[in-house]
């Protein structure tokens, strides 16, 4: 039985670099270094593991983003994904999560899927709601925020660690899952994998291909609007003392002065 797995990934500004906003109050994705979102590496990893455990499975990696987002696809292909789909259209620029989910859902319908795998959140927007929105739009079950996941007999099951409880969940395919950073360390691409990735197919799609009206997405089509952006003043360093046997007492004196104790 074939199993069509599609992993949704995002190309994000490097969190260790200088992240900032462009003049139109969108995330600056051009003047900064970008990469495959670290949290999406866990999604790629789990998709590959599920494919390894299921005969005839195929892993497609899907992204929505500008030209440079192909770097994220390349990374996922070099880890072992079979093929890639890149939705790239200037009119998508500035979309909010509602718009992005509409584009991704249309691309998933066009590509075909049995299992959609996402990371737990992007490292730039950090909303963590896209997988739920995809399930809503596609009309399939969501089994999200899983720290363990497996697929057998047309059913996906896994462990969801919430604040109040740990739940075991399962859903018949087709379904959307998201996996956490506890799901298992992502593999590094091998040299062979990097070379092979160069020959793997990358399909490009635009809004016309997906039958989406440009006015429904992008900055103008967003259902939210940024009013004001303020750089937080850097925290100013307070007093730093070196412990010479009295460090704990000095710290206690500070906390008492601040009325914490």
């Amino acid at each position: 039985m074939s199993l069509r797995i599609v992993v949704c990934v995002k190309y994000v500004p490097d969190a260790t670099g200088d992240r900032r906003f462009a003049d139109d109050a969108t995330t600056d994705r051009e003047g900064v270094d970008g990469l495959l979102s670290e949290l999406d590496e866990y999604g790629v990893e789990q998709a590959l593991r599920i494919a390894e455990a299921n005969d005839g499975a195929e892993v497609t990696v899907l992204t929505v983003g500008p030209d440079d987002a192909k770097d994220a696809l390349r990374k996922a292909l070099s880890m072992g994904a079979d093929k890639a789909v890149h939705v790239n259209d200037d009119d998508i620029h500035g979309s909010d999560v509602i718009g992005t989910s509409a584009v991704l859902a249309a691309a998933l319908e066009k590509t075909g899927y049995d299992l959609v795998v996402c990371g737990m959140a992007s490292t730039d927007g950090t909303m963590g709601v896209l997988p739920a929105l995809l399930a809503e739009r596609l009309g399939v079950a969501q089994a999200t925020l899983l720290s363990e996941v497996s697929v057998a007999g047309g059913v996906v099951s896994g462990r969801r660690d919430g604040d109040a409880a740990t739940e075991l969940v399962e859903a018949a395919l087709p379904a959307v899952v998201s996996v956490t950073d506890q799901s298992g360390e992502a593999r590094y691409p091998s040299f062979k994998g990097i070379m092979a990735a160069k020959k793997k197919p990358v399909q490009s799609l635009d809004l016309d291909d997906l039958g989406i009206d440009a006015g429904a997405v992008g900055l103008a089509g967003a259902w939210t609007k940024v009013a004001e952006i303020t750089a937080r003043p850097a925290r100013t360093q307070g007093q730093v003392v070196t412990d010479e046997g009295e460090g704990g007492k000095q710290l206690a004196a500070y906390l008492a002065e601040q009325k914490f104790i």
């Binding site: 730039d124 963590g128 709601v129 969940v169 952006i229 925290r235 730093v240 070196t242 710290l251």
Partner: protein
């Protein structure tokens, strides 16, 4: 006044503090209505608490679906109640499940969504939400422009204030829809007796410098003396020294307590993203060059195994 729905987060039959914070914020926007889902026999007590904090109305819905099906039953209920009430806005506590419920509800209502607000104020054109983004290096104010705003708010964003209101209970029968995953087993988290990490006024966290799982006892001792929650850096969690539920950072909890004490934590961006908005930051680290010291209000360069126990003794001697 327009109705502002607050999805009440509850556990073990009791209202969780963030729900009281949401009711406090909702009063700035209109007339708060609490939504209590799947609380069973505890619903009446939860409704009474919600009324104490300003709920004019309390919508109560129950059904085994809330426990056996993932996310979707809450979306069904919240959407149905929001439509029937003509709600002007919907507030939900930020958290893994809360954000998912909020997002699907927003899509069904045709509403924009803002997540992880740290403040919400009334504006000329509806609620204005403040978010702290890019590892808390920017503050962004934004608004929903389409539909009744759905906003998720982080715990500890405002101090809950009591404001007794009618709290008229309205029982709602929910038409469950949709394709949901099944919850086949549920194991409640065993309480440590310490405050919830995201709700605590004081958090004491340990990192790589703690050195081993055993080492966390000095962190826990200080936390218990202060009545604080215990956190851990990703390095400590990845090493298996402390549970992931206590991880503070970009991929763990984002905390914003009155006092944050970082012990043996270097202060990588991953960690800073989770604690940088704390009011007062204190660090203890052997390495004087550790980036955490750039953030501190007070820092001690030294061995945490000497400094923390001495501090704990001082706190106990109080």
């Amino acid at each position: 006044m327009s109705e502002i729905l607050v999805l009440v987060d509850h556990a073990d039959g009791a209202v969780r503090k963030p729900a009281l914070e949401l009711l406090t914020l909702a009063r700035r926007l209109g007339a708060p209505s609490a939504v209590v889902l799947g609380a069973g026999d505890a619903a009446a007590a939860i409704a009474a608490k919600a009324a104490e904090f300003g709920a004019e109305k309390v919508y109560v819905a129950d059904g085994e679906e809330f426990a056996t099906r993932l996310v979707v039953p809450k979306v069904d209920a919240l959407t149905q109640i929001a439509k029937a009430a003509g709600a002007a806005a919907v507030l939900v506590t930020s958290g893994g499940e809360g954000k998912e419920v909020a997002a699907r509800t927003a899509l069904r209502l045709g509403s924009g969504i803002i997540t992880d607000a740290v403040d919400v104020e009334a504006g000329a054109d509806g609620p204005v939400a403040t978010q702290s983004v890019f590892a808390a290096s920017y503050q962004v104010k934004s608004a929903v422009t389409t539909g009744a705003p759905v906003i998720t708010v982080k715990p500890n964003s405002v101090a809950p204030e009591a404001a007794p209101a009618a709290g008229a209970v309205e029982n709602v029968t929910v038409a469950f829809t949709g394709n949901a995953a099944t919850v086949t087993s549920r194991t409640p988290r065993v309480s440590t007796g310490r405050p919830e990490l995201t709700e605590a006024a004081i958090v004491v966290s340990g990192g790589r410098g703690v050195g081993a799982a055993d080492g966390f006892s000095v962190v826990e001792d200080l936390a218990d003396a202060l009545g604080a929650a215990v956190g851990a850096s990703r390095a400590a969690v990845d090493a298996g020294w402390y549970p992931h539920t206590n991880q503070v950072g970009q991929t763990g909890k984002q905390v914003s307590p009155q006092l944050y004490i970082a012990a043996g934590i270097s202060g990588a961006i991953q960690h800073r993203a989770g604690m940088q908005t704390s009011k007062t930051i204190v660090a203890v680290n052997k390495d004087p060059e550790a980036p955490i010291f750039e953030l501190v209000d007070y820092g001690v360069v030294g061995d945490l195994f000497n400094v923390l126990p001495q501090l704990t003794d001082q706190v106990k001697a109080g």
